[in-house]
Amino acid sequence: MSGASALQGVRVIELASERCAFAGKLLADMGADVVLVEPPGGDPSRHYAPFAGDRPDPERSLYFWHYQTSKRGITLDLEKEPGRAILSRLIEAADLVLEAEPPGRLEALGLDGAARCESQPGLIWVSLTPFGQHGPRRDEQVTDLTLLAGGGPVWSCGYDDHSIPPVRGSGNQAYHIAGHYAVLSALTAYLHRLAGGEGQYVDLNMHAAANVTTEMASYHWLVQKGTVQRQTGRHAMETITMETQTECADGRHASTGVPPRTPREFQNLYEWIVELGYEEAFPESVFLKMGGERESIDLSQIGQDDEVTAMFAAGRDAMDFIARRVPAFDFFKGAQDRGMAVGVVYSPEEAFEDEHFQARGFPVEVEHPELGRTVTYPGAPYRFEKTPWRIQRRAPLLGEHTREVLREAGLDPEADEP
């Protein structure tokens, strides 16, 4: 493995915002030189819980730590002319600007991104806004919750009982969705430039991003005017489907996945029931055995051929029967070792500790010199053979690299007080 980085030398200016922080991290962890520009008082996300040691402090927000890895940080007061002049100078030397300012704010400050791309033809400018730069809803206020509610994902998530509100999954996923699209855009525009093309301005609409991240909900409406309905722990569908989530013997849950369909799967399931000592206790054991002894099973005969119908039902019931009698992890391992796609519903920390992710080196250590210790972070979303993902450094302290960055830009940090 060489130490090269895919984005080594790519210069990015990121105006701090919770909405584009993830995109900046993705670029920075692949080697881009991302300079995070914060206002003098720091980005508001420095005050987001949780905090290291539960001590609220702008240098101890674990939220900020996570989303700002590998970046350098400077402070600039964009409300004042010297700050704007310095930002403009930094942009001159940049390949990419990443920002999520409200529509109109930068124009008012004399930093119009679209115009800048005209005057600086190599520049790529990616702007993330809730509804795009020009849309009729562009001035609405949003959070992750309202984006996911208005944009579609929430409609599909929740419980069979519709007197319970639909559910927003946690983790600020609307920002992740937009962040992924921001990086796709930045890299696509950059490849076009590498091929001799010009840079360009990218208008990213976060509400639209959520809208096209809803799978069947959108295309069932688009194609056949069908409306999916939310269902506990499984896909929202136009019709109500069988439950696929079971509470296991230890109170944890498992996703029972796709019921057995092939003779080999029936054979394996039958043997598992026998191994566990449940051949007598499980009333349909005989149908599992029959399924295992067959040459083939024609699933289109379900509901028509009594034997096939009984076997299919027995397979599904057997999965549920076992799931209720063993711990969730054992059910997952037992089924997967027998070739059946089953999942254990892990909490994030349980996944983090799992042997598979440990073996693949998912958790990574990052130096925190200011604390005199290392901290374990979530690792790579992908494994590059030649240009590995890597956290270059922990999130910047407030203004940590202001002097260094100004000096590199040929500015005198003493004279050009940001």
Binding site: D54, A114, F131, P165, L187, L191, Q224, Q245, A351
Partner: protein, 414 residues
Amino acid sequence: MTDRSEALSRYRICDFTGQLAGAGATKWLAAFGADVIRVEDPVRQGGWDILRAMPPYVDDRRGVDFGGGFNNHNTEKRGITLNLRTERGKELLAEIVKRSDVVSENFAAGVMERFGFGYEQLKALNPEVIYVSNCGFGHTGPYARYKTWGPIVQALSGLTFTSGLPELPPAGWGYSYMDHTGGYVMAIAILLALVHRERTGEGQWVDLACTEAGLTLNGPALLDYTVNGRPTRRPGEPNSNRSSSPAMAPHGIYPARGDDDWVAIACRNDEDWRALGAVMGGAWASAAAYATLAGRLADQDQLDATLSAWTRTRDKFEVAEALQDAGVPAAAVQKPAERIDQDPNTAAWGLWPSVVHSKMGEVRVDGLPVHFSRTDWKIRRGGPCVGEHTDEVLRELLGASDDELARLREEGVL
């Protein structure tokens, strides 16, 4: 091949992907002009990608060329069939690999090796090739052979668990969120590898495990665990309609008048809280106990109950509009029809382009949430029917003659 975006038009993708986790990745590339050639099995009529024949449907016709989801995820791609059980099929694939920049797939680990086209073989054919594989657990580690699909990836990566309400089982994501996201991350991987190759001439293999991509979406919660030792599995959690990072209250999804109608409201700070109070009127919102975030966080159940009583008798769009007018983040939980056919934002954006599919005719599909000032995406051609472009591609890339194509078809190669 006219009238396509120029952004990625120099690249050819030899594409084995399917479903959404893989096909979603190459949809982006094709929309920006890459020549994405889907390679499918003529014997199974492309049936490995089960979406080919699954609902929704535009009319009564059924079969591998009529799946609405497949069409949605495969716009602007070309489709060919090659029987890789035959020697001649393998030879033809080898020739296509030599002429491709990227080979992409989302089979279970080990399948490409069984075809005889693992990374080592691909590299021997094309030393600069980029190979991006996308599967549930990646190609190494104890679970490399385990099988997944979207809901299992979400279960394993913590995303199912963290979506739910107290005292209830996990609600999870009511769709394959990680198939979408797996596709995004896969496309990012392909683009990153292309950048590196442009600058160094070096290809590489990217091993993408969807579960790991999912795990990265729990960052602050994982750091709370590694730094503070605080697990996410603890009493009262998850309660994911609320917000603790950052802390906000009230923050939730509230009932509205109408059939399964709901409205989301988030008070980011004291100012939002006062504005909400002014819209609602009455003494409740000026109670001293609720003036600060700490006070509101301490009494969220009561806050939610009172707010629900107010929203319950009102129209969700009217509530959202009144709050937006006061500067408070609020949005109706939109049903598909509402956000697709009635929301002025998605229409003005051109978010639902119509494509022309060779058999289905004109169909609306998901567009993209970005607009580029110079080389914007174009989505006009529907997903390919099975083998729709076999002759065209083999003629164009390999100079195959009509006789040759007829012979290959007779021999069961195409």
